[in-house]
Symmetry: C2
Subunit: 337 residues, 2 copies
DNA sequence: AACTGCCAAGTAATCGATTACATGGGCCTG
DNA sequence: CAGGCCCATGTAATCGATTACTTGGCAGTT
């Protein structure tokens, strides 16, 4: 019936107290006398009062939300991370706003916009292609860098990409492969450079060589994996095993190989990275490096909440461990001849 | 340097005008004299002023955001829809808050919370399992039901599930199949009932019968698809074709069939529903019914924006067409003997 | 009885914008 | 030249909470 919802004034009137008392009852009940508290709570129930977060946040100089800024919202890789983040943030009374850097104009502008808009108490940034200079804005909220970052002092959450690459390479070598290729992401991408570095390091440690032709370039998408497969098949001296920097590329690669009448793992063994859900349902099942995405999400939210609570732009960084998941896409190399 | 960001007062002082003029310059520039406008804009630039959305929204009695409430944030099906929604909402100056109904307690409570919290100017609801009664709260914002709804007068966006099912069945029948099964979602789910109805209708129209054993039950997940495959293989009289109510289940089904040494489409032809990205990279490529998810997202946002602008709880509903995508998972039935 | 101290509750300033209404100057018209 | 109008701008109330500061009452102490 009542179009407008009750305000704190209404509750105060009904309970016969001041608005200050109502506010206190709701935020720190311990400081109000039990009898008063009860009558306020009853008035709240009677009026159907809901706190107006906007007004509260304005007064408190906060926004009540955190923005997750991803390169591309349509990428399902993030959804599971969002779920973890959302659970933690909701618990803390914060909302999760999502936005991507591809809508509209320049990605760095988008970041700058969100940093200065004052729409968030904190930002979680997934896009490693953004310029670090964009973060130099006065009065910006705390920012946590996730996944695609490395090297510097800004608070971040990453996974151990080098170790993951080493796990993959060692597993392939363990199956008997000596010609192990790498399907990379975009060259400038940190995930690419880290996984590539891990790949090289692991090969050297094994005394194997990395032929430059064996490094194929993709962009993490399934389509780019399929394209890489066509290049691989055209190679005069094909590697017998391939470590793919993402499961998506591995899926595309396998699909294209099959379509060409070749077999995985008969003609080429494959290890992916991520452990996306479909990996275990493929034929053959995809051996891969698991990234614990829910944990990445929850830890990100937790670290950011700490920074927000501390009112600090700096905070700890964390490296999350990865794990080899063995399935059927790896077998000994084909016996020549 | 300055910890605090500039307020409208600062801009007014620098420009030598009143705050009203600054506000007007920013919101409806046409009503202020060009000279004044320019000096205000210069002052804005000089001070680095950013409008405080919280304060503006409080005054305007709106929140500046829309909540998308999905059953499960981790489900990648939604991410592409989010992308479409976000693009439209951002354009309109609104933020997209995401939340799921699984975190915390009772899903209906979660919906109720978001309806009354006053944190959103509108809600987009993807969870068809919620009770419609939950929407009966006074003073709630406009709500648009997406995808998992049917039948009533509330504004909604759906796809033509029956027609999609008919496309699938007709395609299978066209390849020569007479024993066509259906792999459903949860029985109570509207998508299930609609697609099942379409399946039955199409079979009748073709003069084919639907054997009850040929209706397998899943829950839209890959795992449930794999489980269904095991039940299918145990069937004394297996259908030679299967229409799956989701691509995810089709993926799981195909995987399990292959693992058992049978072949798709050699032993069974399959049509999915959704056209998820991986469908075209599977072996064989999955024939499926495409749902235009980006369009679902953009249209949802547009319809909701209309309702918000009109200040109305009601609005038009829309049915979005689906399309058959032909790939290699359908072939003529195996010749008996 | 007077004084001190403390606890619960009230008063009112404040967060930063928007906007209804008031004002004043310039121009046009008769 | 007086009257009326309009346009650009200023004044100040307002959105709905939080919270620093103040007040008043009661208990305990001497």
């Amino acid at each position: 019936m009542d179009r407008k919802t009750a305000t704190i004034q209404d509750v105060a009137r009904v309970a016969g107290v001041s608005t200050a008392t109502v506010s206190r009852t709701l935020s720190k009940p311990s400081v109000v006398a039990p009898a008063t508290r009860e009558s306020v709570l009853r008035a709240v129930a009677d009026t159907g009062y809901r706190i107006n977060t906007l007004a509260a946040n304005l007064r408190r100089q906060r926004t009540g939300s955190v923005i997750a800024l991803v390169p591309n919202l349509a990428n399902p890789f993030f959804s599971q991370i969002f779920a973890g983040m959302s659970a933690v943030l909701t618990e803390a009374g914060l909302g999760l706003l999502v936005a991507d850097t591809q809508t509209g104009t320049d990605p760095d502008d988008r970041l700058g916009y969100h940093l200065t808009s004052g729409n968030a108490d904190g930002l979680i940034l997934f896009d490693g292609t953004l310029s670090r200079d964009s973060l130099n804005v006065p009065g910006r909220p705390p920012v946590l860098l996730v996944s695609e970052w490395m090297e510097d002092d800004l608070p971040s959450i990453t996974v151990d990409n080098r170790h993951g690459a080493a796990l993959a390479v060692n597993h392939l070598a363990g199956a008997g492969h000596r010609a192990i290729g790498f399907l990379s992401g975009p060259p400038a991408n940190v995930l690419t450079t880290e996984r590539l570095a891990g790949y090289h390091a692991a090969l050297s440690a094994l005394g194997l060589i990395a032929h430059p032709d064996w490094i194929l370039e993709g962009d993490f998408t399934m389509d780019s994996g399929a394209a890489a497969a066509r290049r691989w098949m055209a190679l005069p001296d094909r590697p017998t095993a391939l470590f793919c920097a993402s499961d998506e590329m591995a899926v595309g690669f396998m699909g294209a190989v099959h379509r060409a009448g070749l077999s995985v793992p008969g003609d080429i063994s494959i290890v992916g990275f991520d452990n996306i859900e479909v990996a275990q349902h493929l034929t053959p099942g995809l051996t891969t490096i698991r990234q614990p995405r829910t944990i990445i999400g929850t830890r990100s939210a937790e670290l950011l909440l700490d920074m927000i609570a501390a009112g600090s732009l700096s905070g700890p960084s964390e490296v999350i461990e990865v794990e080899l998941i063995t399935r059927a896409s790896v077998a000994p190399p084909p016996t020549p001849g």
